[in-house]
C-alpha cells in the first residue's frame, strides 16, 4: 500500500482513442506510477501560461498497467477543462495528476459474491476499470452490468463490451436507453426503473456487491431502487459525479 502523502506528478499523453463523437480515451504515462485499484480516480490539474490553474477529478478507466493510466473524458459543451482534454490535448502534451485516490469505491477480485455494476452515462468509466481488472485477474466472479445511456451512439467501450472474449465469461451486459432505442428494442426508451434492476440485476438474496456511478440524480434513483429491492445498504457503493463533468 502506498503510504506516502500524495503530490502532483507529470503525466504525458502517449495515446488516445475515440469512444464516441464527444468522448475519447486518453492514455497517460506517469513515471513512477504506483499502480491503482479499479474504481479509484485521479485529480488532474491544468495550468495556463499566466499561472491560472484549475483541477478536476476523473475515474481511471484502465486496469493497473505499469506506469500507464487511461481516462475517458466526455466533452461537456461550455466546460472549462473537458473541451481541452477531449479536443486540444495532443500526444506529447503534459498535465499534472495526483493519485490514485479513493479506497471505498473499489472492487478487489478476492470477493466471493456476485457483482452488480450500474452505470449512468459517463459513470461507466470506473465500472469498466473493474471489468478490465476482472479480466486481467482471470476472475470468474459473476458480473452484471446495467448501463444506462441516452442512445446507442453514446456508449463508451461498445466494441470491447460486444467482443466478449474468454476473459469475460460470466459478464452479462444490459443496455438501457433513456432517449432513443434501436428499432425492435425490447425496452422502450426511458429512465432507469425498478423493473430494469429487477430483470438485469442480481436478486438481493445473493448479497451482491453493488457499484453505482453516474450523475447525482441517477445515482440517487438507482440506489433507492436497490434498497427497495431489498439489497443491504452496506453492500451498495455509490460514486456521484456531480451534475456536470465541466
Amino acid at each position: 500500500m502506498n503510504t506516502r502523502r500524495l503530490t502532483w506528478r507529470a503525466a504525458r499523453l502517449v495515446g488516445s482513442r475515440a469512444e464516441t463523437d464527444a468522448a475519447r480515451t486518453l492514455v497517460f504515462k506517469i513515471p513512477g506510477w504506483p499502480g491503482h485499484l479499479p474504481g479509484q480516480h485521479v485529480d488532474v490539474r491544468l495550468t495556463a501560461e499566466d499561472g491560472y490553474s484549475t483541477q478536476r477529478s476523473y475515474s481511471v478507466a484502465s486496469a493497473s498497467d505499469g506506469d500507464l493510466v487511461e481516462l475517458t473524458v466526455q466533452n461537456v459543451p461550455g466546460g472549462e477543462v473537458s473541451p481541452y482534454l477531449a479536443e486540444v490535448l495532443e500526444v506529447g502534451d503534459e498535465v499534472e495528476m495526483r493519485g490514485p485516490v479513493g479506497g471505498w469505491f473499489v472492487w478487489r477480485p478476492t470477493g466471493v459474491e456476485p457483482v452488480l455494476l450500474v452505470a449512468g452515462g459517463s459513470g461507466i468509466v470506473p465500472l469498466m476499470a473493474m471489468i478490465r481488472a476482472r479480466r486481467q485477474a482471470g476472475s470468474r466472479t459473476p458480473f452484471r452490468l446495467v448501463y444506462s445511456v441516452r442512445e446507442p451512439r453514446q456508449r463508451f467501450y461498445a466494441e470491447e463490451l460486444r467482443r466478449a472474449g474468454p476473459g469475460d465469461a460470466g459478464l452479462d451486459v444490459a443496455y438501457l436507453y433513456t432517449r432513443s432505442a434501436p428499432d425492435g428494442w425490447p425496452r422502450a426508451a426511458g429512465r432507469l426503473m425498478a423493473a430494469d434492476l429487477g430483470a438485469h440485476g442480481w436478486p438481493a438474496g445473493l448479497a451482491p456487491d453493488c457499484y453505482v456511478c453516474g450523475p447525482t440524480g441517477f445515482v440517487e434513483t438507482a440506489a433507492d431502487i436497490l434498497l427497495a429491492l431489498g439489497h443491504d445498504p452496506r453492500k451498495i457503493r455509490t460514486e456521484r459525479f456531480g451534475p456536470t463533468g465541466g
Binding site: R45, D50, T54, E80, V95, E96
Partner: protein
C-alpha cells in the same frame, strides 16, 4: 507554479479592466455552496437585528418590501477569483434598517437560513456599504443566488454577502463565522487580497 499544459487557456480572462489582485473577469454568475439550498416560505420569512443589550428588531417579508429601497449597481469579487462587474440589485440599505437600532456594538455576526454565518465590523454595514437585497438584474432573487433575500456588502469578498440572510447579531466581541473559522481571512478586503488568515 505547476507544469504548464500547452494550449490550455481556462475561462476567458479579460486583461483590459481594473480588477483587485488575482481576480479574473467572468460574464456568468457562478453558484458556490456550502450546503443544500434552503427554501423558506415567504409567510414564515423574517429578518432580525439583535442588539448587544438583547433587543430584537424584526421585519416580515411584507415589512421589508415596504421599506424604502435602492437599486445599487456594484462589482462582485469572489475569493475563488472570479469578479463580475456592474451587477444590478434592489434592496434595503442597512442604514435604513439600523436607523432605530440603539447600539454601541462594534461587531456583527450575520446568520442565514441553513446555518451559514459570517462576521464583519458594524461600520462596514453602514454608510451606504450594505443592503438586504431581494432582486437581482430586475428579477426576484433566485434561491441558488441567495433568494428570497441576501446581504450584499460588495466592498468585501463575496462570502461576506451572506445568502439566505436571516438576521444580524450585534456583538461587543468579534465572532468569526463559517469560512473565517475554516482558514479564510477575518476581514476579506479584495483590494488588499485578504483571502486567507495571515494574508
Amino acid at each position: 507554479m505547476g507544469i504548464i499544459s500547452r494550449g490550455f487557456r481556462g475561462r476567458p480572462r479579460d486583461e483590459g479592466v481594473k480588477l483587485p489582485p488575482g481576480q479574473y473577469l467572468t460574464h456568468d454568475f457562478p453558484v458556490l455552496s456550502a450546503g443544500p439550498t434552503p427554501r423558506i416560505p415567504l409567510d414564515r420569512w423574517e429578518f432580525t437585528i439583535d442588539t448587544e443589550a438583547g433587543h430584537t428588531h424584526r421585519w416580515s417579508w411584507e415589512q421589508l418590501l415596504g421599506l424604502p429601497a435602492e437599486t445599487p449597481t456594484v462589482d462582485l469579487h469572489c475569493v475563488t477569483k472570479w469578479s463580475k462587474l456592474g451587477t444590478a440589485w434592489k434592496g434595503v440599505s442597512l442604514d435604513v434598517l439600523m436607523e432605530d437600532v440603539e447600539t454601541t456594538a462594534e461587531y456583527a455576526l450575520v446568520h442565514s437560513y441553513g446555518g451559514y454565518t459570517t462576521n464583519l465590523p458594524v461600520e462596514d454595514l453602514l454608510d451606504g456599504q450594505a443592503w438586504i437585497t431581494y432582486q437581482y438584474d430586475g428579477e426576484e432573487l433566485a434561491p441558488a443566488h441567495g433568494g428570497p433575500a441576501r446581504l450584499l456588502v460588495p466592498h468585501l469578498y463575496l462570502w461576506k454577502s451572506a445568502k439566505w440572510v436571516r438576521g444580524i447579531r450585534l456583538l461587543n466581541d468579534d465572532w468569526p463565522g463559517f469560512w473565517e473559522t475554516a482558514g479564510y481571512h477575518n476581514y476579506g478586503d479584495p483590494w488588499r487580497e485578504q483571502r486567507y488568515q495571515g494574508d
